[in-house]
């Protein structure tokens, strides 16, 4: 589904060119849940922009679905640490936004609106926001806004979901709740996910594979498969095998931070 081959990216910084990524090679299969972890400032977010085609690599090739990426991929769903909902739109209208833009929904948005609204309500129920469609974003708590943001990134049934630390600003309990929401939606719809995070437990709990990045300029220094049986329960986080992996990853990142 996604492949980066020997990708480097340099951008013009204030004091000359900055190398954000160097020689990054990574591949994510269709329907796979991949997590990217690493120290802060290692170019994890740059990776997201490369995959979605928002920036072009300086060298190397980024390919999605076998075709090299030359511009915005026009189908990826994205969610960030900030929910970024539009305050003048209700929750439902916020979630409908991608359908106003992406084809083929865009062309028939007016005539099929009722159908799409029903779809939004369905999705809202999945993430535990049933009945909140008519509210405005600022009437919701941070966790609820993030749920709505997740709905917005999924409404057009993207084959690829890019998440950039989506749960980082939430409290621990809400975060775990949303892990389960994401787990369930993913298990139901089976899209490809790239989750950028610095929360190792989050990465290990949710992902099939965890990629570890080095400090800037970022490279993938290790790829680790996580093979706990699915569906996973939150209890798995307290398994010895689970904590061992987290501990191991923790040590690796501590090392690259020093290096």
């Amino acid at each position: 589904m996604i492949s980066l081959k020997d990708v480097s990216l340099a951008y013009a910084g204030r004091t000359g060119p900055v190398l954000a990524l160097e020689g990054t090679t990574i591949s994510v299969g269709r329907g796979e849940f991949a997590a990217v972890v690493g120290p802060s400032g290692c170019g994890k977010s740059t990776l997201m922009k490369l995959v979605t085609g928002l920036v072009k690599p300086t060298t190397g090739v980024v390919a999605v679905d076998g075709a090299p990426v030359t511009g915005p991929v026009k189908m990826a769903g994205m969610a960030f640490q900030n929910a970024n909902l539009l305050p003048w739109r209700t929750v439902t209208d916020n979630i409908l936004l991608p359908l106003e833009i992406v084809e083929p929904y865009r062309g028939k948005f007016r005539s099929h609106r009722a159908e799409y609204v029903a779809k939004v309500e369905d999705l809202l129920a999945t993430v535990g926001l049933k009945g909140f469609g008519d509210r405005f974003p600022w009437e919701l708590s941070g966790g609820m806004q993030q749920r709505a943001s997740l709905c917005r990134s999924l409404i057009h049934e993207p084959a690829l979901l890019m998440l950039d630390e989506p749960f980082a600003a939430l409290d621990a309990f809400t975060r775990e709740e949303l892990w389960c929401v994401l787990r369930d939606v993913w298990q139901r719809l089976k899209f490809t996910v790239v989750l950028v995070t610095h929360d190792l437990r989050e990465a290990v709990f949710l992902a099939d594979t965890v990629h570890v990045m080095s400090a800037r300029p970022g490279r993938i220094i290790e790829t680790r498969d996580v093979s706990f049986t699915r569906p996973r329960d939150l209890e798995v986080c307290y398994d010895k095998a689970f904590t061992d992996i987290v501990h191991d990853l923790r040590n690796q990142i501590a090392q690259v931070r020093k290096g």
Partner: protein, 257 residues
């Protein structure tokens, strides 16, 4: 009387107190009417000259509104253009700053040479002085779109026009309506300045005439008329702002709660 009732009456109490003190000072110190007329003298002038006051107020009102309307149309257009493209923004910025720093009083004689004495220089002065804050505000609203939100939309294949229509323009609306309050006040200043220098109607003209005839109560009656008009126009735009972009205020209110 409870405190909220006192608070709602406070504006009236202060206005009345101001006039009472004014009246007392004039009477107690025997201030000459030529220097500073007392409110009672001004009131008498208003009653005596209500017809010309009303007629000239109307002229000032419509020239201000005409200049303001031009400023809104042009300011909105230029603001969208400037907010759209960084290159245009960089190119136009020095020109706009330079233009805005010219005191518009200096432009009035040129306008008079071009268009003659009358309403047109007043309308144009009002326009020239008031479009700038609209441009700056609209452009700011567009330029401060959250980059992540733009990424979300662009990753869906949204064009620049899509991003502007769905996010940029609605987002700029509170800035736009906010700037109208500033713009209408400035437009009013522009009109009156121009009328004072070169016009044959309007409150500015009336005051200049009354001044040269030493009719100070009438000059002050003109000031009162200006104050009333200014307050009304400001209130109208403030009301419009509340009505059109209530979500922006509610959002702040809920964040504070």
């Amino acid at each position: 009387m409870n405190s909220s009732k006192i608070e709602s009456l406070a504006p009236w109490i202060f206005v009345i107190a101001l006039f009472v003190i004014w009246e007392l000072v004039c009477k107690l110190f025997g201030v000459s009417t030529i220097t500073l007329p007392a409110p009672s003298d001004i009131w008498a002038a208003i009653l005596r000259y209500w017809a010309p006051l009303l007629r000239n107020s109307f002229v000032t009102l419509w020239t201000t509104l005409a200049g303001f309307a031009l400023a809104v149309a042009f300011g909105l257009f230029l603001g969208l253009v400037v907010g759209w493209s960084r290159t245009i923004y960089r190119g136009l910025y020095p020109v706009m700053i330079g233009f805005n720093s010219i005191p518009k009083v200096a432009v009035v004689p040129i306008l008079v040479l071009w268009f003659g004495i009358g309403e047109i220089p007043a309308i144009l002065t009002a326009f020239l002085i008031s479009f700038f804050p609209i441009v700056v505000n609209v452009a700011t609203g567009l330029a401060t779109i959250e980059p992540e939100l733009e990424d979300v939309l662009r990753a869906l294949g949204a064009s620049k026009l899509d991003v502007m229509r769905k996010v940029g323009i609605p987002r700029a609306m509170p800035y736009f309506f906010g700037s109208l309050k500033v713009a209408i006040t400035l437009a009013f200043v522009g009109t009156v300045v121009s009328e004072t220098i070169a016009a044959n109607a309007g409150i500015g003209f009336l005051m200049a005439q009354a001044g040269s005839n030493f009719q100070m109560p009438l000059v002050f009656a003109g000031l009162i008329a200006l104050a009333v008009e200014g307050i009304l126009m400001y209130a109208a735009t403030a009301w419009l702002e509340q009505r059109m972009t209530g979500w922006a205020f509610r959002a702040q209110g809920s964040a504070a709660a």
